[in-house]
C-alpha cells in the first residue's frame, strides 16, 4: 500500500515517517516509534488506555489515523517526566496514592489527568470523576486515582494536600 509522509512533534522531538494511510495513530506510536506506553484495551474507543495528548487535547489514539496527526504536537506518557528525568507530579502522585495496580490503564489515565489539570487546575471530586470517565480501570475502583489527581493538583498549586472527608 502506498505510504504517506507525516511530520509531527512527539514528546518534543521532530518526527518524519512514512505510514500507510490506514495506520492508526496508536499503532504508529507503538510499533513505528516504539512508544509502547499507550496501550490498546478495546476496539470501540471506550477504554482510554491509548490516550495521548495531541495539540492540547486528550485523544484516543486508537480512533485516529496517523496521517490525521500530520503536523501535530503529541505527548505520550514517555514524555511526561520532567526535563531533569524526575517524575512528573502526576506520576509521583499515582504512586503515592496507590492509584494503579496492573499498570495497563495508567499511561492513558495519567495523560488524561495531565490535560484535565491543564483545563481545570483545582477540580472537585465530581469534576475529576467526570473528567476521567473516558478512561477505564479494572483494578483500582478509581478512588485512589481520584485522590492521586487531587494530590497532584494540590502540589501544583503549592498547597498542602488534604484528604477529603469521607
Amino acid at each position: 500500500m502506498a505510504k504517506s509522509k507525516v511530520t509531527m512533534k512527539v514528546n518534543g522531538k521532530a518526527v518524519e515517517e512514512l505510514v500507510e494511510p490506514r495506520t492508526l495513530l496508536i499503532h504508529f506510536l507503538r510499533e513505528q516509534l516504539n512508544l509502547t506506553g499507550p496501550h490498546i484495551g478495546c476496539d470501540t474507543s471506550h477504554c482510554g488506555a491509548c490516550t495521548v495528548d495531541l495539540d492540547g487535547k486528550s485523544v484516543k489514539a486508537c480512533t485516529m489515523f496517523a496521517v490525521q496527526a500530520d503536523g501535530a504536537d503529541i505527548r505520550t506518557i514517555e514524555g511526561m517526566a520532567n526535563a531533569d528525568g524526575t517524575l512528573h507530579v502526576l506520576q509521583e502522585a499515582f504512586r503515592e496514592m496507590h492509584g494503579l495496580q496492573c499498570g495497563f490503564c495508567t499511561p492513558g489515565m495519567i495523560t488524561r489527568a495531565y490535560r484535565l489539570l491543564q483545563e481545570n487546575p483545582s477540580p472537585s471530586e465530581e469534576e475529576i470523576r467526570f473528567g476521567i470517565s473516558g478512561n477505564l480501570c479494572r483494578c483500582t475502583g478509581y478512588q485512589n486515582i481520584v485522590k492521586a489527581i487531587q494530590y497532584a493538583a494540590a502540589k501544583i498549586a503549592g498547597v498542602p494536600y488534604q484528604e477529603a472527608a469521607e
Binding site: G103, S133, G141, N144
Partner: protein
C-alpha cells in the same frame, strides 16, 4: 549502647516489613509507561496471526477455501483444522478433562469460534486476509437455554462424544450432559426439610459474565528449529502450567519450552486457561520458522476466551419458626458452553461450590450440580474468586434474605443468629470443610454499629410509609452480606490440576552483600507481588524490603508453581516465602554463632540480627552474616545463603467479611444510586494495608459491575449480543460508588504468618451485598427475588411488575 544506636523499633520500621503501607516498587516503571506487556514485544521477523471466526452458533462446516486469503500479498500461511491434524493438534485437552477444538473440525459450536488462522507480515494484512477465508456453513438448531439442554429432543451438540456414557467426572445422562456432582448428605438434608417449620425455595440465577481485564489475552511464540526450543511469551496467570500442558500437547520436551509471562494487564481469571490462539501461534511459528504474535481484540476476548458463572441455582433453606437454620439444599444447572474448559482443580467439576453453607452453622446440607453443554463459548473461570465460590456466596446470601423475609426477621438479626460462633472454630461444615478461624459476630456487630444499622432501618421504614402515601417515588434498600471464602488452593489431598498437586513455591538467594532475590511460582497481574513478598522477607530475615528483588513469570528461573488465581498467592507462595526464610535464618544463626564463638542456642533474634542473649551489644547483622556465608562458613557447612520451599498447605484459608450497602432507587426510571457501601474484611494477618485497601476497592468495583449491569447475553439464535464495551458494562469513575473499608484481624492458625488472602473477597461479598440491597428496596412491595444484573432497565421492569407504575 550509645545514643546513636537505633532502637529495635526504629530498625524494624526501616525494613518496611509486614504491616507497612509500603509504596509499590512496580509503580516506578508503570507510571512512566515502561511496563513490559506482551504486545510490547517486538522480535526480528515477527509475524502476526488473526482468526477467521464463525458467524454461526451451531453449524456444519461444509467447506473452507483459503485460496483468496493465501493470495493476499504479505500473507505467509493460512492454518485450518486440516493443517493442525497433521501435527495432531486440531483438538486440545482442557483443564477439566474434556477436549476442545483448536480450529473448527467439521462443525462450529459457538459464535466467533475459531475457524482458520491467518499468518501475515503485519496485523492489518492478517486481519484483512482473515476476512477472505471462504467458509460454507450449514446452519443447525442451537441450544441457548441451559435448562433445555437436556431435553429429549435437544440438538446434539458434541458429536465427538454423543455416545459416551462416561465423562471425565462420571456418568453422563444425556448427550448434552457434562457431569453430575454432589456433596453433603442428601438423606440428612431431606430429613431436615421434612421436619422444618419454615422452608423457602428460589431459583437464583448468576448470569454469564466475563472478567474483562483491560489487557486482552495474547502471546508471542518463537520456535527455534535448530535447537528445537520454543519460547512462549504470554498473558499467563499460571506460566508453569502452560509449560507442562504445552509440552504434553505439542510433544516438545518440557525442558525445551521456555514460558515467560511478562507484566500482565489484569487477569481476574481470564488468563488461567489455554486458548486456541496460543496453540495456533505455536504451530504457526513451527511452520514458518519465525516468531508469531497473536493478540485478541476486545470482541474476541468477551466472546471467546473464558466466561464466568452461568449458574442456575435452585436454592432451599429449612428453618425452625424462631429462625434457626436446620437444612440447606441446592440443585444447580451449570452452563459450560460448547466444551468443558472450566478452570477448576481437576477433581472438582463444580469447584468449591460446596462452600455454599457460607458463614452459618447449618447441620444438614446437600448440593447437586449438573453441567450441560450449550452453543456458547467455553470457559467457566473464577472471575476474581476461588473456584465457584462467588456463585455459592451469592446463592446462600440471597437465600438468607429470602428466608429472613419469610420469617419476618431482620436479615442482619437472622444472620447473627445463625453465624458460626467464635468458640466453634476450627469448624467442620456439613460439607466437610474445616474452617480455620473466624470471629463472625464481632465483624457483623462492628459493621452494623459503624453504619448505624438500626437508624438506617428506621429511615427505610419512614421512606416506605412516605412512598405508600405517594409523597416520594424513591425506595430505599439496605443490603447485608456476610461471606466466607475458601481460598489458597490447595492441599494436595484435595487439589490438583491434571495431576499436578496445587502446592506453590519460593526460592530465595541472599547475595554476599546482604541483598537478595526471591523467585516464585505465582504471577502478579496487578496484585503488587514485587512489593508484598519482599515485605514478608523483610520481617522474616531483617533485610530491608528495598534490598529484595522479587521475580515471577519466567519458568526457566522461577521454581515450579501453579500460578496466581483463587487468592492463592499469599496463602501458598506467601507461606513458601516465610518457610524459605526460616531455612535461611536457621543457617544464618549457625553462621552467627560461629562468628561470635557462642553456641547457637545462646543467640536470639532481634529484628535484623542475631545477638547474644544477655549481652545485646554482641551481635551479627544479617548483612554481616550474608558476607560470612560466602567467606567464612563454619567448618563442614556448605557456603552460600539460599533456600527453596515448596509449600503444600495443610488446609485452605477462610477469609470472611461483613458488608453493608445502602441504595436509593427511583421506581420510575429504575436508576439506582449507591448511597453508601461499607466493607469490613478479615484476611488474617495484613501484609500491606495500602495494597489490601486497593484490592478491596477494585474488587468492590468489579462486584458493582457484575451486580448492576454485566451479562454476556445470547439471543435465541446464539448470537452474542454483549461482546464489546458498547454493550458490556464496565463501571467508569462516574458510576463507581465511594468505598468505605474496615477490618478485623483473625489470623489463620495453620499459615506460617497467619495470612489468608484478600484480593477476591470484595467480589465474593460485594455481589450479594449489592443484590440484597436492590432486592431489599422492593421487599415491602411484596417482591421476593429479582435476578441480577440490576441495571436501570431491569430494575424498572421489576418495579413495573410490582404494579408501582399503575
Amino acid at each position: 549502647m550509645n545514643a546513636q544506636t537505633p532502637t529495635s523499633a526504629e530498625r524494624a520500621a526501616k525494613l518496611e516489613g509486614m504491616g507497612c503501607k509500603r509504596k509499590r516498587v512496580e509503580d516506578i516503571r508503570f507510571v512512566q509507561g515502561k511496563g513490559n506487556y506482551v504486545d510490547d514485544i517486538k522480535l526480528p521477523g515477527m509475524l502476526y496471526g488473526d482468526f477467521t471466526r464463525s458467524p454461526h452458533a451451531h453449524a456444519r462446516v461444509k467447506k473452507i477455501d483459503t485460496t483468496k486469503a493465501a493470495a493476499v500479498p504479505g500473507v505467509v500461511a493460512v492454518i485450518t483444522a486440516e493443517t493442525l491434524k497433521t501435527v495432531n493438534l486440531a483438538w486440545m485437552p482442557t483443564l477439566a478433562g474434556d477436549v476442545q477444538m483448536v480450529l473448527a473440525d467439521g462443525k462450529v459450536l459457538f459464535q466467533n469460534q475459531e475457524v482458520a488462522f491467518v499468518i501475515a507480515d503485519d496485523r492489518y494484512t492478517a486481519a484483512d486476509a482473515a476476512e477472505l477465508v471462504e467458509v460454507e456453513y450449514e446452519d443447525l438448531p442451537c441450544v441457548v437455554d441451559p435448562l433445555k439442554a437436556m431435553a429429549p429432543d435437544a440438538p446434539v451438540l458434541r458429536e465427538d462424544i454423543k455416545d459416551k456414557k462416561e465423562g471425565a467426572h462420571g456418568p453422563r445422562k444425556h448427550y448434552n450432559h457434562v457431569f453430575n456432582w454432589q456433596a453433603g448428605d442428601k438423606a440428612a438434608a431431606d430429613a431436615a426439610f421434612a421436619k422444618a417449620d419454615v422452608t423457602i425455595k428460589e431459583m437464583i440465577v448468576y448470569p454469564r459474565v466475563h472478567p474483562c481485564p483491560l489487557e486482552t489475552c495474547q502471546c508471542v511464540a518463537s520456535f527455534d528449529k535448530i535447537k528445537g526450543e520454543l519460547t512462549l511469551w504470554g498473558t499467563f496467570q499460571a506460566p508453569h502450567v502452560i509449560r507442562t500442558v504445552g509440552s504434553l500437547i505439542s510433544k516438545i520436551p518440557e525442558h525445551k519450552i521456555h514460558v515467560i509471562a511478562p507484566d500482565i494487564g489484569g487477569g481476574f481469571g481470564n488468563k488461567v486457561g489455554a486458548y486456541p490462539g496460543y496453540i495456533c501461534a505455536i504451530v504457526a511459528s513451527i511452520v514458518t520458522g519465525r516468531p508469531v504474535k497473536w493478540v485478541e481484540d476486545r470482541i474476541e476476548n468477551l466472546s471467546t476466551t473464558a466466561f464466568a458463572r452461568d449458574f442456575f441455582m435452585e436454592t432451599e433453606i429449612a428453618c425452625t419458626k424462631d429462625g434457626k437454620i436446620t437444612g440447606l439444599r441446592c440443585y444447580t444447572i451449570a452452563d459450560h458452553g460448547a466444551f468443558d474448559a472450566c478452570a477448576n482443580a481437576t477433581k472438582w467439576p463444580a469447584g468449591l461450590f460446596s462452600i455454599i453453607s457460607g458463614s452459618y452453622d447449618i447441620p444438614a446440607a446437600h448440593v447437586s450440580v449438573d453441567g450441560v453443554y450449550s452453543n456458547k463459548a467455553p470457559g467457566g473461570v473464577a472471575y476474581r474468586c476461588s473456584f465457584r465460590v462467588t456463585e455459592a456466596a451469592y446463592a446462600i446470601e440471597r437465600a438468607m434474605d429470602i428466608m429472613a423475609q419469610k420469617l419476618g426477621m431482620d436479615p442482619a438479626d437472622f444472620r447473627m443468629k445463625n453465624l458460626i460462633r467464635r468458640e466453634q472454630f476450627p469448624y467442620t461444615s456439613a460439607f466437610g470443610w474445616v474452617y480455620d478461624s473466624g470471629d463472625y459476630q464481632t465483624a457483623l456487630t462492628k459493621a452494623m454499629e459503624t453504619v448505624n444499622y438500626k437508624k438506617l432501618r428506621e429511615e427505610q421504614k419512614k421512606k416506605q410509609e412516605a412512598f405508600r402515601r405517594g409523597e416520594t417515588r424513591e425506595v430505599m434498600g439496605v443490603g447485608v452480606a456476610f461471606f466466607t471464602e475458601i481460598v489458597g488452593a490447595g492441599p494436595s489431598r484435595n487439589c490438583d490440576i491434571l495431576g499436578i498437586a496445587m502446592f506453590d513455591s519460593a526460592e530465595i538467594r541472599i547475595h554476599p552483600t546482604g541483598t537478595g532475590i526471591c523467585r516464585l511460582g505465582t504471577k502478579s497481574q496487578g496484585q503488587g507481588h514485587e512489593t508484598t513478598y519482599a515485605q514478608i522477607i523483610a520481617t522474616e530475615l531483617g533485610i530491608a524490603a528495598d534490598n529484595i528483588m522479587v521475580e515471577e513469570g519466567n519458568t526457566d528461573t522461577a521454581p515450579y508453581g501453579l500460578g496466581t488465581y483463587g487468592s492463592r498467592s499469599t496463602p501458598v507462595s506467601g507461606a513458601a516465602t516465610a518457610m524459605a526464610c526460616r531455612k535461611i535464618k536457621a543457617k544464618a544463626q549457625m553462621i552467627a554463632a560461629y562468628m561470635l564463638e557462642v553456641h547457637d542456642d545462646d543467640l536470639e533474634w532481634d529484628v535484623d540480627r542475631f545477638r547474644v542473649k544477655g549481652n545485646p551489644e554482641r551481635f551479627k547483622t544479617m548483612t554481616e552474616i550474608a558476607w560470612a556465608a560466602y567467606h567464612e562458613v563454619p567448618p563442614g557447612m556448605e557456603p552460600g545463603l539460599e533456600a527453596i520451599n515448596y509449600y503444600d498447605p495443610p488446609n485452605f484459608t477462610y477469609p470472611f467479611g461483613a458488608y453493608i450497602c445502602v441504595v436509593d432507587i427511583d421506581v420510575d426510571t429504575g436508576a439506582t444510586k449507591v448511597r453508601r457501601f461499607y466493607a469490613l474484611d478479615d484476611c488474617g494477618t495484613r501484609i500491606n494495608p495500602m495494597i489490601i485497601e486497593g484490592q478491596i476497592h477494585g474488587g468492590l468495583t468489579e462486584a458493582f459491575g457484575i451486580a448492576m449491569g454485566q451479562e454476556i447475553h445470547y439471543d435465541d439464535a446464539g448470537n452474542v449480543t454483549t461482546a464489546s464495551l458498547m454493550d458490556y458494562f464496565l463501571p467508569t469513575a462516574v458510576e463507581t460508588p465511594k468505598w468505605e473499608t474496615d477490618w478485623t484481624t483473625t489470623p489463620s492458625p495453620h499459615h506460617p504468618i497467619g495470612a489468608k488472602g484478600v484480593g477476591e473477597s470484595p467480589n465474593v461479598g460485594g455481589v450479594p451485598c449489592f443484590s440484597n440491597a436492590v432486592n431489599d428496596a422492593f421487599k415491602f412491595l411484596g417482591s421476593t427475588h429479582i435476578n441480577m444484573p440490576h441495571d436501570n432497565w431491569r430494575t424498572w421492569m421489576a418495579a413495573d411488575k410490582l404494579g408501582v407504575h399503575a
